[in-house]
């Protein structure tokens, strides 16, 4: 028994799965499942959302089988680097910081970020000066969190594992505002009961240095072939109307 089979045997004994992927017949896709309407788990435990529909369309276009892996946001890039899955399709913005760790496909949508506050709050101006001393919540590890950390230095920033927890604390009055992707906030504010507590305040933010150049599919740096496959498939579904159809199912306007 050589060293290779020994380690493989140990890996199997540990309850782990090993798979070689020279020709990409199966692609494992990591997603969060806690970011409606882009990705979430429905009451039957199924992963759903815009990201998932786009992912399925891409897989069909690339003619590969896709398996979905739910992974908490905090560990989603480490999970990709460590090989738990081969691609992240989870509304991840393409930023210089992340590009140091992983590669990205072309963007598949782009939306700005916004603040939301409780209805009737006195927040009208969302500049760093006006928000000084206020408590702002965001999901950790996101472009919104990084932006707050760097720009809103005189506000108190609280970071949550999921956007849902931040929203819960805004509704409960622990936060003066939350800062997140505008569509995700829109979904919560307009389409849920507890979201009715709050409303958008201030302008939209899209500073490229922080919010990147859109949302892309994250891939390991060495998987250039897979990136090209995704880019080709993305161009194809944009051209043949599939993307437009999925977009229309979720939003009355184009988010590309």
């Amino acid at each position: 028994m050589n060293a290779k089979s020994l380690i493989l045997a140990a890996a199997v004994a540990l309850g782990t799965t090993a798979a070689a992927h020279a020709e990409w017949t199966t692609v494992r896709i990591g997603t969060e499942g806690a970011y409606p309407p882009f990705n979430y788990v429905d009451s039957d435990g199924q992963l759903r959302g815009f990201d998932l529909d786009i992912a399925r369309a891409l897989c069909e276009q690339m003619n590969v089988t896709c398996e979905f892996v739910a992974q908490d946001w905090d560990g989603i890039i480490p999970g990709l680097v460590a090989g738990r899955y081969d691609a992240i399709i989870a509304s991840m913005s393409i930023t210089p910081e992340r590009l140091e760790q992983v590669d990205f496909s072309d963007k598949y949508y782009q939306t700005p970020a916004r603040f939301a506050a409780r209805r009737g709050s006195d927040i009208t101006d969302t500049s760093p000066e006006a928000m000084a001393g206020r408590v702002i919540g965001a999901q950790s590890s996101t472009v919104s969190a990084n932006f707050l950390e760097d720009i809103y230095t005189s506000s108190e920033i609280r970071l949550y594992a999921t956007q849902d927890e931040a929203n819960l604390d805004l509704a409960a009055g622990r936060l003066d505002a939350v800062f997140a992707d505008s569509i995700v906030l829109y979904e919560w504010l307009e389409k849920t009961d507890d979201g009715s507590c709050c409303e958008f305040v201030g302008d939209a933010y899209a500073d490229e240095e922080y919010f990147g150049t859109g949302v892309g599919i994250a891939l390991r740096k060495e998987d250039d072939d897979l990136r090209e496959m995704f880019n080709a498939a993305l161009a194809e579904i944009l051209a043949n109307g599939t993307y437009e159809r999925i977009n229309a199912e979720y939003f009355p306007f184009s988010i590309y």
């Binding site: 480490p78 760790q101 950790s140 950390e149 949550y160 409960a172 009055g173 622990r174």
Partner: protein, 266 residues
């Protein structure tokens, strides 16, 4: 322990050699750690880590401090002949010792968020609004239960003869308890109380889950931006340093306080 003390002299030498080996291994670890240390990353997050240490200390000192004051009445309630008082204390201790600290923290933090209006009505919301206070309250409730149980055991393990001696000296029960029983009980409880302090330092890491930037919270923040695994190793070194320092300091205090008990042995 007694076996070691009475062992032949070469056993002591072996112990010293073991300690030398441990120091050597520790140095090897430290050297490895220093070689992988990314100084740029340290420059960026170092000050935040220091603030995190401060937050962890504040959390632990507040909860263990208040806990140690409240634990004694709770322990006395557990020893009380009054059924109601006794059962209340038992229920409190059982609940907080039988459930995970993290679940208790969620219960206090998210649970109180639900009753905001009622809290505002009694002017308590400013307290529960703050995650740090929620964590401090949860940890206090938790450590009080553990400390009360430690004290109860210690008080009960003071020999009955001590009570009788106090009585024979004409001391009242209250004075006997305060001047004779309690000091002995605290000496018995010293070691488990030290362990409880260390458990709280480690347990306080869960505060990071409700957005408190303690050592663990800072670590998770640094990891979420840099994705550099070494920040977890920094946290490990920090926690180990703190815990070991306290362990050594505590056993020094313990040895000082129990000097009079060991005279006869040497």
């Amino acid at each position: 322990m007694a076996l070691n003390d009475m062992g032949p002299p070469d056993l002591k030498r072996a112990e010293r050699r073991t300690r030398l080996f441990m120091i050597f291994l520790g140095l090897v670890f430290l050297a490895t750690f220093l070689t992988i240390l990314d100084w740029n990353l340290l420059e960026r997050y170092g000050p935040r880590f220091l603030r995190g240490v401060g937050v962890t200390f504040k959390l632990v000192l507040i909860s263990v401090g208040i806990g140690s004051a409240v634990a004694l009445p709770v322990a006395l309630a557990r020893l009380s002949a009054n059924r109601l008082v006794n059962n209340l204390a038992l229920g409190y201790i059982t609940f907080f010792r039988g459930t995970p600290l993290l679940a208790q923290l969620f219960l206090v933090y998210y649970g109180t968020g639900q009753f905001r209006e009622a809290m505002e009505a009694v002017n308590l919301w400013w307290f529960f609004r703050d995650p740090f206070f929620c964590a401090a309250l949860t940890f206090t409730l938790n450590t009080t239960a553990y400390q009360a149980e430690i004290l109860r055991g210690a008080i009960q393990s003071v020999p009955k003869g001590q009570w009788e001696a106090g009585h024979a000296l004409g001391l009242s029960r209250a004075v006997t308890f305060l001047k004779v029983i309690l000091p002995q009980a605290y000496i018995i409880a010293l070691r488990p109380l030290g362990n409880e302090l260390i458990l709280m330092i480690k347990g306080s890491a869960v505060a990071s889950v409700v957005t408190v930037f303690d050592i663990m919270g800072t670590t998770r923040l640094a990891f979420s931006r840099s994705f550099d695994f070494q920040v977890y190793l920094w946290a490990a070194v920090l926690y180990l340093f703190i815990v070991e320092t306290i362990r050594i300091a505590w056993s020094f205090i313990e040895r000082r306080l129990t000097r009079h008990l060991r005279v006869s042995r040497s």
